[in-house]
Amino acid sequence: MNTLQATRLVAAREIKVKLRDKTFLYSTLIFLLLAVVATVAPAMLNSGPSTVAVTAAGAEPLRAAGLDVMLVADDGAAEQAVRDGDADAAVVTGPVVVADERAPDDVVTALSAAPQVELLDPDAVDPLVAYLVPFAFAFVFFFMSQTFGMQIAQSVTEEKQTRIVEILVAAVPARALLAGKILAAGALALGQIALIAATALIGMRLTGGGDLLGLIAPAVGWFVPYFLCGFLLLAAMWAAAGALVNRQEDIAGASMPVQLAVMAPFFAVVFLNDNAGAMRILSYLPFSSPTAMPVRLFTGDAAAWEPIVSLALLLLTAAGFLLAGARIYEGSLLRTNGRTSVRAAWRQREPIG
């Protein structure tokens, strides 16, 4: 049994158990429902073109605008059709648009002459989208690294708490246990993101919202490697935090530094996303770069070389944290009396690796 085979077995077990976990299944289901609702609901609420009551003389421009035209004998009948609720609006001589409570935009537009529009900066992102997309990136990273990081910590602590870890480390290198857990959590996180993203994309395609996809695709392409490296960095910390304690109840306390490392960059990106200077710094700092750099790429602020440098920086940091996390993990795995200090775990030198 080499480390690689052992890692695969450990990861397979983690995934198998998680896929049976009802909480995990239900939360995934709820995310999928949210994705469907968020993409399909706006189209469902938009009830289609208005029905317009009009005499044959005025019908042509309305028909050309794709409105549902209802031919009536005269202006009086047209107004009556609106009163009766048979039509959303009526167009009477003038032309005058008659409606119940609100002016129907599509009818007004059909009868108006649009002025010529000339955009000076046609690539500029819609300000609402420009605000929402960074938030979505930051939120996905924040939420996933928190949820699946906690899963790693819980799985580590469970093995310590039930003492099965003693059998496990006698059978396989501790490193294989750690690698298997991180691998499984990463695969589950990516799988869940992919499933939700696919659902949202199908929803957008069905309802004709596909243009946003083309807009965010390049930033999404960078988001994946950033997500993976950032996840690795945090996963190592979560595993170490889980190994320091003996009971599930104590994880919250031991993982405070990790939670801070997840939360601080999240809020920094959310609150500072329109401050170019701050975002430049955040997009290089290893903990915030997984969210800040894709945002800068999305808004077009970053030069082509910038994500490469920042990603390399993140990868190096992740590697360093992984080594440190593995050492703490191995050093505290068999200390079953009370909480282990990072210092004690660091100094432990058992041959369980």
């Binding site: 049994m1 052992a6 077995l9 450990v10 077990r13 158990v17 049976r20 976990d21 469970e158 708490q161 039930t162 003492r163 099965i164 870890v165 003693e166 059998i167 496990l168 480390v169 006698a170 059978a171 396989v172 290198p173 068999l334 079953t336 030198r349 058992e350 041959p351 369980i352």
Partner: protein
Amino acid sequence: MTSVLRLDGVDRSFGDRQVLKDVSFDVTAGRMTGFVGGNGAGKTTTMRIILGVLAPDAGQVTWRGRPLAREARARFGYMPEERGLYPKMTPREQVVHLGRLYGLDAAGARRRTDALLERVGLGERADDLLETLSLGNQQRAQIAAALVHDPEVLILDEPFSGLDPLAVDMVVAVLRERAAAGAPVLFSSHQLDVVERLCDDLVLIAAGTIRAAGAREELRSAYTRPRFSLVVDGDAGWLRDQPGVRLVDLDGARAVFDLDPPADDQSVLRAALARGPVRAFGPVTPSLAEIFREVNQ
């Protein structure tokens, strides 16, 4: 016999507290070795060092004459004192999983698991989640987990604690099978009567040092003092005045006494017969508990 697990001069400290001092003993193939010691004497630390889970500060563990490496340890079966398996998995799943971690292929692990769960009497509950099983049944699953890869050496920390008498018999039978098949079996226990009934060899540890080690009968005779028990009709109080006799216990007609040389037991017997009928007379062999108490002083 050449297949010997040997500990040689093993030291181990935690911080500035030394828990093992120069621990040396052998566990011989085909024999059950009982490892006896009080709480905190160093049993679990010793076993963890054998399993390679802890490192010794000094000394070494050898198996068949060679220092123990991870590959050889993968052929060890281990049952830690503090039991534990995954609560959210069934016995069958976890025994298969552990079998695969020990290097069995999927089919082999499943085959061994089915046979073992049947053997330990868990066949019907094999597909229930572990957390729904009684403690006794969880223990049975634990035994199966330690045996799934058909280990060459068995190291069991308190294998009988928490077991009902039927389960103890089952475990004893399984361990005997292993020993008969040529595996060295090292087990610790607080239940000295079980150890006494079961083991071929004994290792006694106290405060981190080995106080006695060897075949059970040899140890017993080594610790046998010239102690006798006597049952007569009437009162045995006259023994007090007998030369060389030191009374240990006197209860009317029953007495237990030690003899200081050069006094000999036959002259005491003759003296007793001269006073009336003797109902019982004989040497007292020390129980393991008594030896244990003595080495702990």
